[in-house]
Symmetry: C2
Subunit: 356 residues, 2 copies
């Protein structure tokens, strides 16, 4: 039986926040999408309703055994007032990858993407228009059954909430300082690293705080087995330009398959540049640095799109990259990707999807 | 300022479930304990109130970044109608260990233990009396701030809920069949294995399901680094009796410091038996098995207390233990520990705490 989307509009629209002071993930729109899952009915009752709290039994399994996954993508307003999504089908696919890893039942990706488009249409006034601003989209799923036995829940909720967000680079792109983490581990082979599970983020906070205390903005995660190989930077994938080549850690099961990472790889190949997805040790990178061959470093992710790295601190060594200035390739990727996202640059791959 | 516990009693008591058919973690008592945390006030407003749902903003951080930890302990009714807790201060300590690992602010352990005792007093009718039954106690903490940036939440809730539970061994102790897990990893050095974080349990479900499909009740987890060394079994610590010696994996950071494990170690030493906390490889264990020296295997945890293992399946080898019967030491530990918990056996260590 096909799911039927129900729409209940709010009687009282919220006052909009100051769209020049949005920040990230603090303001939420008038409506949300929600649907429920039960073992008997499967996913049911999909609806767009006024943004409202959720009420849960204290025994709801999400509080205890953490079955929760999420996605993050954005809607962009173009100069000619269209609203574009960037490769949203990738996020729906990844949601199911995450679901699968922690035993949450799969969702109908096409249906969910339709529902998302409808939700954005309903709340289209909330898609900001100032340069660099966007509507952040957060689909998420969590377990709800009130039961304390350790097993997969028999009931879930899936929501999509929307948050207008400010420009990531308010005062221009600035390279960040990164601490190469040698104590904590984000993910390991056989674990949940390639899924966007809530627990992965809780586990990462302490390292992040300790790095902040040392004066670094983010951590660079090394592999959990040998503590040698580069995985990700903060909640971003990471790229290195080494002597004209571009390297990024291969997807090995403990790294998230980022949509931005995938798009950067396609662009670089399209431009005919030599790109390698491979295992990269910190040692090897340091050697390249000492030979003067570490030319650029940047993170990739939906929030920042491209985030230049100006310094890596590793076991007492400070690797200063590109004189702590934004590199040319870093900038070109940023401009091309954001150009495509805002409909200002040709989209040779058909990545954008227009919301009606 | 000292916290003041407020008590609001229910106007309408629930109908009690059939105390001969309790199962685990399905029924909840009339009241719960709850307190809140904010960055400004610290932990505040501790109260015992009627058991009721919690209402959260959909952006509440627990749904997204999974800052959630829990504890599990039990209250036991003695034949002379006293109510005993077993080493509850250990659970309060461990709650703070878990909090610390995922950047949740610490709680006042002594205050929380007092509040727990008061809660049990209020709901004392719910402590069942049939042999083997008990009142399962679930303290838990989760993040509540409605914010989508990845950082530690600035607000939390801590609850304690109570659930009367049936005898774990309804029809007698039966050794379980265990699958030695060689694909999935529960925890790794530098991760969250020694904390009771919600995410650890979500991550474990898939392996558990796959083992069930193969006909095994639980998995035995190997270390995340080399995939060689024994860590835990299901959500229990694990012990081996090998040629008269008792071995258990040493606390290495990725293993939970179980209260039952600690108690078993103390009892064994008290009895003058040779006990070793050490790194144990599956290989070494298999060799002991082939020499006929693997005498008993059992798991330890609050739910089952002692859980005999009758079979280990490892890389195609079936290790049958003690002819799939409960071993003498396994049984003696079970009887001594449950004897102490129910106030029927002398408590030389002062482990039990009476609820007034
Ligand atoms: C751990 C992690 N790695 C990488 C990424 C980048 O993925 P994407 O480019 O799809 O946003 C994210 C953010 O979504 C993330 O949370
Ligand atoms: C992962 C894990 N290991 C071990 C244990 C046993 O700990 P305890 O004896 O304190 O119940 C538990 C259960 O609490 C657990 O969840």
């Amino acid at each position: 039986m096909a799911l039927q989307l129900d729409v209940v509009l709010t009687k009282e629209k919220k006052e909009k926040p100051d769209f020049t002071q949005l920040g990230f993930g603090q303001h939420f729109t008038d409506h949300m999408f929600i649907m429920d899952y039960s073992a008997e009915k499967g996913w049911y009752d999909p609806r767009i309703v006024p943004y409202a709290p959720v009420t849960l039994d204290p025994a709801a399994m999400v509080f205890h055994y953490g079955q929760a996954v999420f996605e993050g993508l954005k809607a962009y307003r173009t100069k000619d007032n269209r609203i574009l999504l960037f490769r949203p089908e990738k996020n729906m696919q990844r949601l199911n990858t995450s679901n699968e890893r922690i035993s949450i039942p799969p969702v109908d990706e096409a249906f969910l993407l339709d529902a998302l488009q409808k939700l954005i249409e309903v709340d289209q006034e909330w898609v900001p228009s100032a340069p660099g601003t966007s509507l952040y989209i957060r689909p998420f799923v969590f377990s709800t059954e009130p039961y304390l036995g350790v097993r997969a829940s028999h009931s879930y909720k899936l929501l999509i909430i929307l948050s207008p967000v400010g420009a990531y680079y308010g005062d221009g792109m600035k390279p960040v300082k990164i601490h190469v983490e040698n104590k904590y581990v984000r993910a390991v082979r056989g674990g949940t690293g390639n899924a966007k599970t809530a627990g992965n983020y809780a586990a990462s906070l302490k390292a992040q705080n300790e790095a902040k205390d040392l004066g670094y903005e983010q951590v660079l995660w090394l592999d959990g087995v040998e503590g040698k190989y580069i995985e990700e930077v903060g909640a971003m994938n990471v790229f290195f330009k080494v002597n004209g080549e571009i390297w990024t850690p291969a997807l090995n099961g403990s790294i998230l398959d980022g949509v931005t990472r995938n798009s950067v790889l396609q662009l670089l190949r399209h431009w005919g540049l030599p790109v390698y997805e491979k295992r990269i040790s910190m040692e090897e990178l340091y050697e390249a640095y000492t030979r003067g061959e570490l030319e650029e470093v940047f993170g990739t992710g939906t929030a920042a799109v491209i985030s230049p790295v100006g310094e890596l601190s590793w076991n007492g060594n400070q690797l200063r990259i590109h004189e702590q200035q934004v590199g040319e390739l870093t900038m070109k990727l940023y401009e091309t990707l954001t150009g495509i996202q805002y409909g200002e640059v040709e989209d040779p791959f058909g990545w954008t999807v227009q919301v009606n």
